[in-house]
Amino acid sequence: MEIVVVSDVHKSYTVGNVTTEALRGVDLTIGQGEFTAIAGPSGSGKTTLLNLVGCLDTVTSGSITVDGQLVSALSSSELSDLRRNRIGFVFQAYNLIPVLTARENVEFVMLLQKVPDKERTERAKAILEEVGLGDYLDRRPTEMSGGQQQRVAVARAIAAEPALVLADEPTANLDSTTGGALLNLMRKLNEEKKVTFLFSTHDRRVMERARRLVQLRDGRVEDDEKR
């Protein structure tokens, strides 16, 4: 089943009199259970593509379908709902709510989804244990390392049981060991829980672990390799 369908998507930004074309006709289909990396040099359009798939930004032309819904047809609050219920996000860094503990951060999305109290608490605890942070439930982000914070972010992203988890260079701010461990975790969740991951990277070691590698260059798909 197709979770994401990107058809002939163009995206340009205008700053002053200068128009920059970030995406120039991208076609991409992501199926359920995929573990796909989008790679490419800086400025190739990785983040733009993820923002569009994540319903955070709108296309200039072309269309995107997420979980069967045509994104351009949705209102702002319908987009909020789609993000909340169907998409999990992991950003590069500083992605947690600093005043909430690890458990509360994970519970937050479930709160928005109105998951009942007891189920929410149990699920948050189980997921944090799953990502190896069972002993850090009541720590705030500032009391955790960068790698631990990213694992909480992954836990939060999957807690909502989304159709798709988007991760924009999740290992960029981590050392190679911690980054490798995070990737192992994502891979494990993909294999055991069938969570669909779409992540961007320019780290060669991360690309090697992906089951599908999409190469972007100058706003176009240069290569699409399934392994």
Binding site: L56, D57, S80, R84, G88, F91, Y94, I97, V99, L100
Partner: protein
């Protein structure tokens, strides 16, 4: 659901402790300043009014109709017993009454003369009701002794100075008597008073009622029956009751009718208190706008992430408002604590403004201002501060809720 936003808002206050402390502190100081002003401005107004009521005005004055505008001997009450009978019938709400002769006249000493307001009173009744007896700085108040050779007079210190009077010295009082003749009498100074009001110290002269009646040739007639109440709140009711009982022949006036200046002064005090409070509140409001804006701009990325993971704009708006509400609550609590500490530290006993005693005397106020705690005004202040805090955070809250997630996330 509400809980998590309240929780985030509350914890956000402790994120930048120094900044929160400064803004909560400024609200606290503003609130303390406002309460302080209310306590003492109201205290001062209250004191001025009571000084006037207690010095000689009384709560209610009963005269023959027309006397207040034209205080002439012709308008003396011919049947004062019936008036006093009505006053006595009012009963418990009345602290007491004082039958009086009031007339304008001239006081002459060996060296000088001055226009005065002569008040003839029953010494004991008067000293129980008004403050004049307690304001004597030299000698005594009237004793009520009316042996013809030594008629008693009590004068203010300012008048004594002007006329060169000392205790035991003679002064001649002259006033228009019944039938158009001039009445006069020789009096000896038995006491000198000093009231907070300089005007009263210059103008008032107290003599015994019987001496006054004789001087004016009015027999048992009275110019005024002054009524003092236990509680200010009974003023309107008692005035109305007396007016309806006494009919058209008599005028029943309250201190407000008798002293329009005092009423205007109190109104002026209220207005200036409001203006000062507004200034303090505006200053505090700008502090809050500034702090909330800074704290919102600092957290753009965080708000962006909250929006990205599905938080609705309205929720972010509320979060910022809750934060401001907490700042308001903490500031108010701080302000109350500051006032509480000052109160215990001695402010409760009154604010000693002896340095400004002369200026205060112009307003008829004592040098020590006692705080007056007005509960409704206190509640209004607190509610106003809270409302203002919320209003001040509307704009920052709007900024937070309107931001585009993709742009907010791009910020580092």
């Amino acid at each position: 659901m509400l809980g998590i936003y309240v929780k985030i808002a509350w914890r956000n206050i402790f994120r930048n402790r120094r900044r929160s402390f400064v803004v909560i502190g400024s609200v606290a100081v503003g609130v303390a300043g406002a309460i302080f002003m209310i306590l003492f401005m109201m205290g001062m107004a209250e004191q001025m009014v009571h000084a006037a009521i207690n010095s000689y005005l009384g709560h209610i004055q009963i005269h023959r109709t027309g006397f207040a505008d034209n205080p002439v001997v012709r308008l003396t009450m011919s049947d004062p017993d019936s008036v006093i009978g009505q006053v006595e019938r009012i009963g418990g709400r009345i602290q007491g009454y004082s039958p009086r002769i009031l007339t304008r006249g001239l006081a002459q000493s060996a060296t000088n003369s001055a226009g005065v307001q002569i008040i003839g009173v029953e010494a004991v009744r008067e000293s129980l009701l008004t403050s004049v007896a307690s304001r004597i700085v030299e000698g005594t108040f009237l004793t009520g002794e009316t042996s013809l050779r030594r008629k008693e007079v009590v004068v203010g210190d300012a008048l004594a100075q002007k006329l060169g009077l000392q205790l035991g010295r003679k002064v001649v009082l002259v006033a228009q008597a019944h039938g158009g003749d001039m009445g006069s009498g020789a009096f000896r100074v038995v006491g000198i008073f000093k009231m907070p009001s300089e005007d009263l110290n210059k103008a008032l002269v107290w003599i015994n009622l019987q001496d006054a009646q004789e001087m004016l040739g009015v027999g048992d007639g009275l110019s005024e029956v002054m009524v003092m109440l236990h509680k200010d709140d009974d003023l309107a009711a008692v005035q109305k009751a007396l007016a309806s009982e006494l009919g058209d022949e008599y005028e029943v006036r309250t201190w407000q009718d008798a002293s329009r200046e005092m009423v205007q002064m109190v109104e002026l005090f209220d207005v200036s208190t409001l203006i000062m409070m507004a200034v303090v509140f505006f200053a505090a409001a700008f502090g809050i706008v500034n702090t909330m804006l800074m704290s919102v701009f600092e957290r753009m990325r965080e708000f962006g992430i909250l929006r990205a993971i599905g938080t609705r704009p309205w929720a972010l708006f509320r979060m910022v408002i809750y934060e401001a509400m907490f700042i308001g609550f903490l500031g108010i609590a701080g302000g109350v604590v500051i006032i509480g500490i000052l109160y215990l530290a001695g402010l409760g006993k009154g604010l000693d403004l002896s340095v400004f005693a002369e200026s205060l005397a112009l307003f008829g106020s004592d040098a020590v201002i006692k705080p007056y705690f007005d509960v409704p005004m206190f509640i209004e202040t607190v509610v106003l501060v809270e409302v203002m805090t919320v209003l001040a955070s509307l704009w920052p809250a709007m900024r937070a809720s309107r931001l585009q997630p993709v742009e907010a996330i791009r910020q580092k």
